[in-house]
C-alpha cells in the first residue's frame, strides 16, 4: 500500500522487557515446579525425598531425558520422530545380544550408538531429500522396528549379561553414571545449540524454512544433521536403558516415544518448530518422573500419571499459543 503508515515506535525500553522475559522463561517455571513438588510432597510424605526414591526418580528416567534432548532438536527443526521408543528397544536388545555373544563390552556399548545414528540418519535423508513428512517416515520405522524386534527375539528376555556391562549401575565418585550422562549431555547440547552454526541453522529451518533457504542455509543438510545427532542421543539413551537392570526386556515401557515427546513439549519446545531449549526438555523429563513417583507417595493411583501428563501438555501448548498470539499482535504492521 502506498498509504503512509503511522509511525509508531513499538520498541519498549530494554529494562522493562528484560525482567518479565526471565520471569516467564519455561526453564525457570519448570525448575520452580520441580522444587515446589519436592517440598510439598516431601512435607506430606518424607519418604518421597529419601535418597532411595530420589535415586529411582533420577536413575530410572535419565534415559528419557537424554532421548528428549535429541527429540527436542528434531522438533525444533520442524520435524518429529515417533519411532524412538521402538528404536531404544531394538538397540538395547542389540547391545545385550552382543555382550552375551562375547563381543568386547566397549563394542557392545558403541555399536548400538553407531547403529542408532545410521537408522536416524536414514530417516533424516528420507525426510530431507524425498520430502516425506517426518511423522510418516518415523511411523514406518516404528512399525518395522517393533515388528522386527518381536520376530528376532521371539519376545525372550536377555539375561546372563557379562560382568562390567552394566554402565548405568556404575558410580564414579559416588554419583550414578546416568546422572553424569543426563547433566553433561544436556549442558553440552544446550551450548552446542546456542553456539554452533548448525544449531543456529536448526532453529532457522524450524522457524522459517523458506527464509532459511533464501539465506543460503540448506534445509536438506540441516535436517539430515539434526536426525544424525538425534541418533546419537537415542543411542546413549538405549545404552542407559539396557544397562540399568540385570536383564534386558524385549519390550520398552508402553508409549515411551510419547513420554519423550511430552518431555520436549512440556519443556517449552514449540511443536511447530523454531523455538525451545534442551535444558527445558531435561527439566521437564525430571518433572514428569517426579510427578509419577509423587502420585504413589500421596496415595493417588499411578494411572493418573497419564492424565496429569496430558494436562501438562495442553497447558504448555496453550501457553505457547498465547505467547505466539501476543507476539503476532505486537507486530508493527
Amino acid at each position: 500500500m502506498a498509504a503512509p503508515e503511522a509511525t509508531t515506535a513499538l520498541a519498549p525500553t530494554p529494562r522493562r522487557r528484560w525482567v518479565p522475559r526471565i520471569a516467564l522463561s519455561q526453564e525457570l517455571v519448570l525448575f520452580l515446579a520441580i522444587v515446589a513438588l519436592f517440598v510439598v510432597v516431601g512435607a506430606i510424605n518424607p519418604r518421597f525425598v529419601a535418597e532411595r526414591n530420589l535415586q529411582s526418580i533420577f536413575l530410572g528416567n535419565a534415559y528419557i531425558a537424554v532421548a528428549a534432548i535429541g527429540m527436542s532438536m528434531v522438533i525444533i527443526s520442524g520435524n518429529i520422530d515417533i519411532s524412538v521408543g521402538s528404536l531404544i528397544g531394538v538397540l538395547a536388545t542389540v547391545s545385550g545380544t552382543l555382550a552375551v555373544a562375547g563381543v568386547p563390552i566397549v563394542l557392545s556399548w558403541v555399536i548400538p550408538v553407531l547403529l542408532s545414528i545410521a537408522f536416524t540418519t536414514t530417516m533424516g535423508a528420507m525426510v530431507a531429500y524425498l520430502r516425506i513428512p517426518s511423522i510418516v517416515v518415523s511411523l514406518g520405522f516404528l512399525s518395522i522396528l517393533k515388528g522386527g524386534l518381536i520376530v528376532v527375539t521371539g519376545g525372550a528376555w536377555i539375561n546372563a549379561l557379562p560382568e562390567g556391562f552394566h554402565l548405568a549401575q556404575m558410580k564414579p565418585f559416588g554419583i550414578p553414571m546416568p546422572i553424569y550422562f543426563m547433566v553433561i549431555l544436556t549442558i553440552a547440547a544446550a551450548l552446542w545449540m546456542r553456539l554452533s552454526a548448525t544449531g543456529r541453522s536448526i532453529y532457522a529451518v524450524g522457524g522459517n524454512a523458506e527464509a532459511a533457504r533464501l539465506s543460503g542455509i540448506s534445509r536438506e543438510r540441516t535436517v539430515v544433521k539434526v536426525f544424525a545427532i538425534h541418533g546419537f542421543f537415542v543411542g546413549i539413551a538405549a545404552l542407559l536403558y539396557a544397562t540399568q537392570l540385570a536383564i534386558i526386556q524385549s519390550t520398552v515401557p508402553p508409549n515411551l516415544e510419547l513420554t519423550i515427546i511430552t518431555a520436549s513439549v512440556v519443556g517449552g519446545v514449540s511443536i511447530l518448530g523454531g523455538t525451545g531449549t534442551v535444558v527445558g526438555s531435561t527439566l521437564a523429563a525430571v518433572l514428569l518422573a517426579a510427578i509419577g513417583s509423587s502420585l504413589i507417595f500421596i496415595n493417588v493411583s499411578p494411572y493418573w500419571l497419564r492424565a496429569v501428563q496430558g494436562v501438562l501438555i495442553l497447558v504448555t501448548v496453550l501457553a505457547d499459543m498465547w505467547r505466539r498470539m501476543r507476539q503476532a499482535r505486537g507486530r508493527g504492521r
Binding site: E5, A9, L10, A11, G207, N208, S215, A328, R331
Partner: protein
C-alpha cells in the same frame, strides 16, 4: 440506465498501519458493467471485499435497494444476491461440476438426502442459460481447464440468484478463446439485468466491456465516469496522476563495469527470453503489474528457480546459479517482498536474523563468534537507524519498516556486489521508506549494482538510473531515467497490444 442496486458512500477501511480506503463512493446499477481500475495497492481488492462481506467498513454506509445494510460475513452478502468470483477460484477439484455449483445448497428430496438427478438437471439448466453446452456436469472440476472452471464459478454464483456479480481480474489466467467466451457471458448477464463489477488491469477490456468506470488511487476515490467519456490516456492519468514527492534522494553515482548480464534467459512460465545488463553503481528499476514476472525474474537470478535456458554472466564469466547458496557465493543478495514468509525468522532475535546469511563468515570451526555477531547487529542498528530495544529483541515485535531494514542488513552483512530488492518499501511508513531510499543511493555510490522491483511508479522513477518494463514475463520496454514519465511507463505496463485482445475485440 436504471437506478443503483448497491450503493457505497463514504466508505473507509484501515488495517494496522495502513489506511486502505478512505471516503470511497461507488455504486452498481442493474444491467451494467462497472469497471473498477487502479494501480496495485490502490484499494480495489479491499473495496470488493467490503461489498462481498469479507471485510466490514470502518466508516461509511452501504445501501441495497435503498435500505442500509451491513454484511457480517460473505454468506450474508451471497444471500442478498451479491456474488464474487476471485482470482483464485474457490472450487473443490475432487467434486463434480454439479456438486460444486450447488455446494452448500444442494436440492434435497423428501427424505432430506441430496436429490442427485434434480441437482444435475438444475446444473445443466444453469449452464445452458449461460450458453454453455459443452460442459459435462458429472466431470470432476479438477480435470477442467481454467476457462471451464471459471464458467463453473459463474454458474455457482448464479445458482444463488446473484443480482450483482463481482469479478476480480477474471481474464488474468485465460487463453484468448476463453476471454472471448467470458465476454460473451458477461454481456449475456448484463442483458438479463445483472450488475457486474469488473476489475481488470487491461484497459482494452474496459473499453470493450464496461459502461462506466471508477478509478481508485492510493485508497482514494478519483472519479466515476461513463466509459464513452474517457479514453486510454485519460484513464492512465487518473490512475497514476500524483505528484512526485521529494522522497527520493537519488544521487548520481558513477557507473562501473557490467557485473551481471542475462542473455535470453527463460524459465517457464513467467520468465521469457530476458536479456539485461547491470553495471556497478547502477540502480536498475523493474516496473510492471502484478503477475508481469518481475519477482519471478528475481527468483531466477537468485537461483530459487534456476534458469532453464539462456546465459547468465557475473563479471563477464558464464555462471550457473542453481540455488540461493550458489547465488550468495557469487555475491548476489535478494531482499524478498514477502518479509514474513521469505525474509525473516520471526521467533529469532534481531542479531540472529542479521547474521543468518553470514553464519559461515562469523563462525570458526563450526562455532559462532557471538562477539562478531553482536558487532554485526549493532552496526546495522546504527547504520539503518533501526528502532529496537536492542540486539536481543525478537524480530516479530519490530514494526514493518524496521523488519525490512533487518532483512536488508542481513544481506548487506554478506557483503554482496549485486543486490536485488523486491518491493523494498511496500507497506512501511514514510520515514523508514526515506531511509531505505537513502541507503540504496549510498550503496550505489559505493559501487553496488542494484536491481529494484517496485509497483510504485514514483519510486521507480525517483530511484532508478534505468527502467525496464515487464509484461507477461518479457521485457517490453527499456527507458532511461531522463526519458521516463509515469504516463509512458504505465502505458508500457498496461497496454496489451497482443493478438488476444485483437481477437476479443471483434
Amino acid at each position: 440506465m436504471s437506478d443503483a442496486i448497491l450503493k457505497l458512500a463514504g466508505i473507509s477501511k484501515s488495517f494496522p498501519g495502513v489506511r486502505a480506503l478512505s471516503n470511497i463512493t461507488f455504486d452498481v446499477r442493474a444491467a451494467e458493467v462497472h469497471a473498477l481500475l487502479g494501480e496495485n495497492g490502490a484499494g480495489k481488492s479491499t473495496l470488493i471485499k467490503i461489498m462481498s462481506g469479507v471485510y466490514q467498513p470502518d466508516e461509511g454506509v452501504m445501501t441495497l435497494d435503498g435500505g442500509t445494510i451491513a454484511f457480517n460475513s460473505p454468506q450474508e452478502a451471497q444471500d442478498r444476491g451479491i456474488a464474487t468470483i476471485y482470482q483464485e477460484l474457490l472450487l473443490f477439484p475432487e467434486l463434480t461440476v454439479a456438486e460444486n455449483i450447488f455446494m452448500g445448497h444442494a436440492p434435497k428430496n423428501r427424505f432430506g438426502a441430496i436429490d442427485w438427478s434434480t441437482m444435475r438437471e438444475e446444473a445443466r439448466k444453469l449452464l445452458a442459460s449461460l450458453d454453455i453446452h459443452d460442459l459435462d456436469v458429472t466431470s470432476m472440476v479438477g480435470t477442467l481447464s481454467v476457462g471451464n472452471r471459471q464458467r463453473v464459478e459463474i454458474a455457482k454464483a448464479l445458482s444463488h440468484n446473484a443480482r450483482i456479480l463481482i469479478m476480480d481480474e477474471p481474464t488474468a489466467a485465460l487463453t484468448e478463446h476463453d476471454v472471448e467466451r467470458l465476454f460473451g457471458i458477461v454481456r449475456l448477464l448484463r442483458s438479463r439485468g445483472v450488475g457486474v463489477v469488473y476489475i481488470s488491469h487491461r484497459l482494452e477490456e474496459v473499453f470493450l466491456l464496461a459502461d462506466r468506470v471508477t478509478v481508485l488511487r492510493d485508497g482514494e476515490f478519483v472519479a466515476t465516469k461513463p466509459v464513452s467519456e474517457t479514453d486510454h490516456d485519460g484513464l492512465i492519468e487518473m490512475m497514476v496522476g500524483r505528484r512526485l514527492d521529494a522522497l527520493f534522494p537519488k544521487t548520481e553515482a558513477p557507473l562501473g563495469d557490467v557485473v551481471l548480464e542475462l542473455e535470453n534467459v527463460t524459465r517457464q512460465p513467467l520468465t521469457k527470453d530476458v536479456s539485461l545488463k547491470l553495471r556497478a553503481g547502477e540502480i536498475l528499476g523493474i516496473a510492471g503489474l502484478v503477475g508481469a514476472g518481475r519477482s519471478e525474474l528475481a527468483e531466477v537470478i537468485f537461483g530459487m528457480t534456476p534458469a532453464e535456458s539462456g546465459t547468465i554472466r557475473v563479471d563477464g564469466r558464464n555462471v550457473r546459479i542453481g540455488s540461493p547458496s550458489a547465488a550468495k557465493r557469487l555475491g548476489i543478495a535478494y531482499v524478498p517482498e514477502d518479509r514474513g514468509r521469505q525474509g525473516l525468522v520471526r521467533p529469532m532475535r534481531l542479531a540472529e536474523n542479521v547474521s543468518l546469511a553470514s553464519l559461515g563468515r562469523i563462525s570458526q570451526g563450526g562455532f559462532l563468534n557471538r562477539q562478531s555477531e553482536a558487532t554485526l547487529a549493532r552496526k546495522s542498528i546504527d547504520q539503518f537507524r533501526v528502532r529496537a530495544s536492542g540486539i536481543d529483541q525478537i524480530v516479530s515485535k519490530l514494526s514493518g519498516g524496521n523488519q525490512q531494514k533487518i532483512g536488508l542488513s542481513k544481506w548487506l552483512a554478506t557483503e554482496p556486489r549485486i543486490l536485488i530488492m523486491d518491493e523494498p518499501t511496500r507497506g512501511i511508513d514514510v520515514g523508514a521508506k526515506a531511509e531505505i531510499h537513502r541507503m540504496m543511493s549510498e550503496l550505489a555510490q559505493e559501487g553496488m549494482a542494484i536491481i529494484m522491483i517496485s509497483s510504485e511508479l514514483p519510486e521507480v522513477l525517483g530511484m532508478s538510473d534505468r527502467i525496464l518494463v515487464m509484461r507477461g514475463g518479457r521485457i517490453v520496454a527499456e527507458v532511461d531515467r531522463a526519458d521516463a514519465t509515469q504516463e509512458s511507463l504505465a502505458a508500457a505496463m498496461m497496454s496489451d497490444a497482443s493478438a488476444s485482445m485483437a481477437v476479443a475485440a471483434e
